[in-house]
Each structure stands twice: as C-alpha cells, then as structure tokens.
C-alpha cells in the first residue's frame, strides 16, 4: 500500500496499534480540510504493529493530548519534504479539556464552565486524577 510522502505537514508515528482513531477524534482531525491519512496495523520493528497518521498541512497540535493518548508516539514535522523536527512525547503532568470527570459528586458536575483538569498521580501506572475531586480518570 502506498501513501504519498507529504511535503509540509506532520507525521504522527509509533502510535500503539488500534489507537489511531482515538487520537484522530481527540485531536479533532476530522474538522481539517486537508488530506489526512490513517494507517492501521503497519509492520513495525519496534512495536510489532503500529498506527500512523499523516497530516498534509502545517498546524499546531496539543503535544500534551498526544502524550496522554500514548507517550511512546513520535511526531515528525515535515517542511519542504525534509524532516525539520522529531519530537518524542511523554505523559503530561496535567491535561485540560480532554477527559471529563464522571464523579457525580464532583463540583464540575454542577459548574460545567469549570475547566476539566486532570493531573498525573502515578507515572508508572499512568494514573490521572481529577484536579478537584481526585477521582481516577477512566480510559
């Protein structure tokens, strides 16, 4: 299967197999008017199988959101057909506006204008908890 190389844009690589659609939706890539290619179950020396997303346009992405979905992802920024930057992501300390607290006793359940903020409380186990009520985030 051949997907054209992009000249100016972003390649999100080493996505855990099966996670590409989650990332696509969380980043709102469906709203873009440029070409976006999703490659699923690509053979990978490092991961066995992986997903890749190619975006044929320069744009600002929220690195924290990508790191939250999968900290092993690498992002390649392509300019004039050349890789300008390779970014290794990590789990962000806090993440805002991505996860919603499901605790009905949380203040965010009644004050919906409050930002939904989750903080990393256990890096090893990838546990995020609501800033306000400390309820564990459900993936």
């Amino acid at each position: 299967m051949i997907i054209d190389a992009i000249r100016n844009g972003i390649v999100i690589d080493h996505i855990a197999a099966g996670k590409a659609m989650e990332l696509y939706q969380i980043l709102g890539l469906g709203d873009l008017d440029c070409s976006v290619a999703i490659l699923k179950n690509v053979t990978s020396g490092k991961l066995g199988r992986k997903d890749i997303i190619k975006i044929d346009r320069e744009l600002h992405l929220d690195w924290d959101v990508i790191g939250y979905v999968d900290p092993n992802i690498t992002v390649n920024i392509i300019k004039d057909g050349v890789r300008l930057e390779k970014r290794q992501l990590k789990l962000p300390e806090t993440i805002t506006g991505v996860i919603h607290c499901k605790n009905p006793r949380c203040i965010t359940s009644v004050e919906q204008e409050l930002p939904q903020v989750f903080k990393l409380t256990d890096r090893e186990k990838r546990v995020y908890r609501c800033l306000y009520c400390e309820t564990k985030a459900e993936k």
């Binding site: 203040i107 009644v110 004050e111 306000y132 009520c133």
Partner: protein, 307 residues
C-alpha cells in the same frame, strides 16, 4: 490566587508544619488568654453550603477566641448559591468582606475552586466525602495530647473504613511517622479501599492487618478510632442487622484493652459507642472536640501569618 496560602488537603502541610501547628495548638490550650487578641480586627467568613453545626461553631468559636469576628451562612438556601451563583463568584465577593474563609460544600473540589479564586486564605471545612483537613488536624492534636507522640503507635480503625473520609485522611497523615502500625477492623463490605492500602500504606511501608474481630485485636491498640457503620451503606437489611452490633463499642469489649488506650471518634456518634463508655477515662472523643477548637485557632493564625 498565588501568594495566598489556603488549606484544602491535609497533605499540603509538611510534617514540620503539622508539628508547629500542634505545638501552637497546645500553647493556646495551655494559656488561651495569651492569644485572646491575636486576631483583633480580623473577620472569618464561614460559608457553609450544607449544614454542619459542630464544625461551623468550632470555626466561629476559634475566631472569637482569638479576638476576631465572624460572618457567613449556614446553608446554601440562605446564600446566593440558591440563585445559581458559582462558587468562584461567591468567593470573589466574600473575599472582599473577610480576611479568611472556612468553606463546607457538598460537592467535592468546591473549596479548591474557592481557593483558586479567593483573595484571602480558604480553609476546607469538608467537601462531600472528599477532604476534611481540620478534622484530621483535630485528630492529630488529640493523638499528640493523649499519647505525647506520633511515632511508635498502633492505631485501630473500626467501622466504616470504605467511605469514611476521616479514616483515609488520618491514615495518610499518620503514615508519615515512624513506627506507626495500623489495624483495620471492619465488616467485609466496608473494608479500606485497596487504593488507600496500596497508595498510602504500601508506599509508606506501614505494616497493617485487616480483621473483622474488634475484641481480638483490642489488646494491641494504643488508639482506637471508631466510626459509624451506616445502614445505608449495606445492600440489604439482613447484612446490616447481622453486623451492626459487632462494631458497637461497649465496656465489655474494652475489658482486654490497654489501660492507656485512647478512644477517638470524629462525631456525631449515633450508637457505635455505648454511652456506658463515656465515663471511661480512655474515652477521648469529647476532649477531641475541645482540641478541635484549639487546632483551628492555630490554623487561622498560621494562614493569616500571625505570630
């Protein structure tokens, strides 16, 4: 707001800060007159979005005992929250009228939202089943006053260990001291959640045992922290009726207890400690209420930066 110190969670206080609060609370207890004008001209706002007479009166009594004044409301219906005002807006307003705020709210995290928007310190006076740091400070001052130390103590927690926030907070606070051992006494249905066992006890390396039999472990305890087994926590009435008496403290169950045991309870008590125990000098729960006022006085002084 930055540069304003609030207290939302007991773990925001370092061991050194807790030690100095306990020391100050003890000094006030020993000589209240020396502190009677420390907060002259200062105002405490008690914003109680749900009723809690004991906690509110303790805060108000603490501020009055320091020479300050108090204002506030004791239920959401008598506040602008009834009109739909947000916690942030209420606190932005009140922090223009008061020097320090004590807030109780039924929603978890509301005092944190308040602290993020307040011009003055906010003390969490209980947010749902989440945090209640001044209850934990009260428990700590009680333990220190009764036992003279925090280290090398065996603490038994009895009753509802699953939903009891005071239990979780006190375990977190005590897990920072050396030689502490924890005995967890509860029905199977109300055992301490595994995340507290793993994240708090496990991480701190605190040895603990779990049992359903209070009398069997009684001789080991330096402190017995009683909580109420509530009917509404059980899925069926039969289980509740079968278990409720096992966790009611009576003089008979204390027969094998140490002579220097201290019995604590966050109150209110319903029937989990027999009134016959009240006369026992080991019953510390009404002294605990008194300590609560003095530790709140110490905390108000600390957050207002008063020496």
């Amino acid at each position: 707001m930055e540069n304003v110190r609030s207290l939302i969670d007991i773990l925001e206080l370092s061991v050194e800060e807790i030690d100095s609060l306990v020391e100050l609370g003890t000094k006030i207890l020993d000589d209240p007159a020396a502190y009677a004008h420390k907060c002259d001209g200062k105002i405490l706002a008690t914003l109680f979005f749900e009723p809690s007479t004991r906690t509110r009166l303790s805060f108000e009594s603490a501020m009055l005992g320091l020479g300050g004044q108090v204002l506030g409301f004791s239920e959401a219906q008598s506040s602008s929250a009834a009109k739909g005002e947000s916690v942030a807006d209420t606190v932005r307003t009140v922090s223009c009228y008061a020097d320090i705020i004590a807030m109780r709210h039924p929603k978890e995290g509301a005092p944190l939202v308040a602290a993020m928007n307040s011009l003055v310190p906010v003390i969490n006076a209980g947010d749902g089943g989440h945090n209640h740091p001044t209850q934990t400070l009260t428990d700590l001052l009680t333990i220190h006053h009764e036992k003279g130390r925090f280290e090398d103590l065996t603490i038994g927690f009895c009753g509802d260990l699953k939903f009891g926030r005071t239990v979780h907070s006190l375990i977190s606070a005590m897990s920072r001291y050396k030689g502490v051992r924890v005995v967890l006494v509860s029905p199977e249905e109300l055992k301490l959640p595994s995340y507290v066992k793993q994240d708090v006890l496990g991480r701190a390396g605190i040895p603990y045992v779990q049992t359903t039999d209070l009398e069997a472990v009684m001789p080991e305890l330096d402190i017995l922290y009683m909580t109420r087994v509530q009917r509404e926590r059980f899925f069926n009435e039969e289980d509740y009726l079968r278990l409720k008496d096992s966790y009611i403290l009576t003089p008979e169950k204390l027969q094998n207890a140490r002579p220097d045991l201290s019995i604590l309870h966050p109150l209110p008590r319903v029937n989990e400690i027999s009134v016959a125990v009240d006369a026992d000098p080991r019953a510390a729960y009404f002294r605990q209420v008194r300590y609560g006022r003095f530790i709140r006085m110490a905390l108000i002084m600390m957050l207002l930066g008063i020496q």
